[in-house]
């Protein structure tokens, strides 16, 4: 307690110097918090776009073999059939849902005078969760089991298609011409990944019964898997798919062009990897700024020590031990760095929380795309920063303190 009084007395004597010293640290920690907050904002924003998506989805497209296999030539087209769907649904581990998609490309859809060229996709009711598309509230429903059972001629269109074909009227209940076939629109969907989607979704069974897709087979296969957490597990799983399907279609499991696989979880993990790198980068910049502040404190403490040489000489002559001098300087340094650092940290947190508040206030609840959200730092960052500040204080004070300790009392007393 007495020691703090001694320190506060000396600091009060030099208010301007104390302020200038502290300001550099306050600025450093302020920058650190703001930078990390911005990094978090970017990360959270992108995370929000992933959010709710079944990030464990794997998509497969048929390809063309590029390697000979068991006497078969290369250049064969692979065709997805019911056997593939059966394999995925019944013979693969970790599968939650598996769907096949029938693509009917370049279909002209029209309503009244408006028309456009779109792709029809035959899908079942699991498609909505695998693709993570959302129904626009108040605009109908997705394909259901009844549609599939009865081969109903219904269609779910995208928001963009609705704007083109129906302008301002509500398309639900309206009819769309697709060549000779008429579909009734039963819903409008939207998706974060593809706002301008040109896919009209129809029941899988309807597509099967109306269109002749047998030549090309199913357009693609989509599955959701669970229990794969590491990058290696994902890689292994992809290989397992290649092995099994390779056996089914007689292609080389190492022939990556025979079967195209896009694993969303893996790209999710890669994206997260980028953000970790950005975060690391921001830490380095932030800490760099902080170090500049610390060096500033250390520098000014050195000058302080020089200015107070005589005082330390007097203190030593009347019985101050080297340790007590050391404590005096180091604690003074810690006091400056941690109190000003706290101010900087509070200011930084205030700013980031303020920005967050502004963002929350100004974002409509049904906003589809975000790249910046919740730019705040966690409490554990604040704790790290506090520890960092104390460490900074010790570092900034140590060398000046060593210098003060090394002053010989006789020299100090004659110092003017």
């Amino acid at each position: 307690m007495d020691l703090w009084n001694e320190i506060l007395e000396a600091l009060k004597k030099n208010k301007l110097r104390t302020f200038l010293t502290g300001f550099s640290v306050a600025w450093g920690i302020f920058m650190l918090i703001v930078l990390l907050g911005a990094g978090n904002g970017l990360k959270n924003g992108v995370m929000q776009n992933f959010e709710g998506e079944s990030t464990n989805a794997v998509f497969m497209w048929p390809g063309t073999t590029t390697k000979t296999f068991e006497g078969l030539q290369k250049g064969r087209n692979i065709k997805f059939t019911d056997a593939d769907l059966f394999l995925l649904q019944n013979q693969m581990p970790n599968i939650d849902k598996a769907v096949a998609v029938i693509n009917i490309n370049n279909t002209t859809l029209s309503h009244g005078k408006e028309y456009g060229s779109y792709t029809l996709k035959g899908v079942n009711e699991s498609y909505i969760s695998i693709e993570n598309i959302k129904m626009v509230p108040g605009f109908g429903r997705f394909i259901n089991q009844l549609d599939l059972n009865e081969n109903r001629k219904v269609m779910i269109i995208s928001k963009r298609m609705s704007e083109v074909l129906f302008k301002d009227i509500n398309p639900v209940g309206q009819y769309i011409n697709a060549g000779k076939i008429v579909y009734q629109v039963v819903g409008v969907y939207t998706s974060k990944r593809a706002e301008d989607s040109r896919d009209g979704l129809i029941p899988f069974s309807t597509a099967q019964s109306i269109y002749n897709f047998e030549k090309d087979g199913y357009g693609n296969l989509e599955i959701t898997v669970s229990g794969l957490t590491t990058e290696k597990e994902n890689k292994d799983y992809e290989q397992l798919i290649r092995n099994r399907m390779g056996r089914l279609h007689s292609f080389d499991p190492t022939d990556n062009r025979a079967l195209w696989i896009w694993n969303k979880l893996q790209s999710f993990m890669q994206t997260m990897g980028i953000f970790n790198a950005i975060n690391l980068f921001l830490w380095i910049i932030g800490i760099g700024t902080l170090i500049a502040g610390i060096v500033g404190v250390s520098n000014i403490m050195l000058i302080t020590v020089k200015e107070r040489t005589k005082e330390f000489g007097i203190r030593k002559a009347i019985g101050a031990s080297p340790l007590s001098i050391l404590k005096l300087i180091v604690l003074e340094s810690i006091l400056i760095t941690s109190s000003f650092g706290y101010m900087g940290m509070s200011a930084g947190i205030l700013l980031t929380e303020g920005i967050n508040y502004a963002i929350v206030q100004n974002t409509p609840p049904d906003a589809e795309m975000s790249i910046f959200a919740n730019p705040t730092v966690d409490i554990d960052i604040a704790i790290y920063a506090t520890l960092l500040l104390i460490l900074a204080g010790v570092l900034a004070g140590y060398f000046p303190a060593k210098k003060a300790v090394s002053i010989k009392p006789i020299e100090a007393l004659h110092y003017e």
Binding site: D2, R315, A317, G319, L413
Partner: protein
Amino acid sequence: MIVLENVNKTYNNGAPLHVLKGIDLTIEKGDFVSIMGSSGSGKSTLLNILGILDNYDTGDYWLNGKLIKNLSETKSAEYRNKMIGFIFQSFNLISFKNAMENVALPLYYQNIPRKKRNAIALEYLERLGLKDWATHLPNQLSGGQKQRVAIARALISQPQIILADEPTGALDSVTSEEVMNILREVNGQGMTMILVTHEPEIAAQTQRIIRLKDGVIE
């Protein structure tokens, strides 16, 4: 009380300078001694060694029965705090502390609580007639007053000896007389007092004069 046996001290700044050449000296408790000598005679060095502010090369220095030799900085700080009171020519008060806090500072290093040490400091200031000036900063005090504050600071830890380095050097003759009266009075109460001066009239007021010349006692 103080015994020096064949104390030698050499400074090694470039060319070695043999400052003290075998000093033998005995000072008894309650003595009032002055050390005289021209500049370069080694009197300041001798005082620094007596005050444990500097070390010596060979010989022995006994203070109050304790051998003062090759002490750690911490130990010598402790001895200085408890056994020696310093009075300097330039007063050496801490500029941002008031008179009372300056006087109390040695007790701070004995871990005496603030209230208690300030109360003791006030007593000593009162003895030296400065009670009304207790809350003044050094730059608000006259030279004589500053030196009296310094004397109070030297006395407060009840040391074995008081070392005064030209205590009147920065004072006019009237104030010098005042300060010498105080020092004599303190000595009269049994305090051992060693005073370094180059003024013969000041030295004349002490009981014993030690004259140094070229590092030896004449």
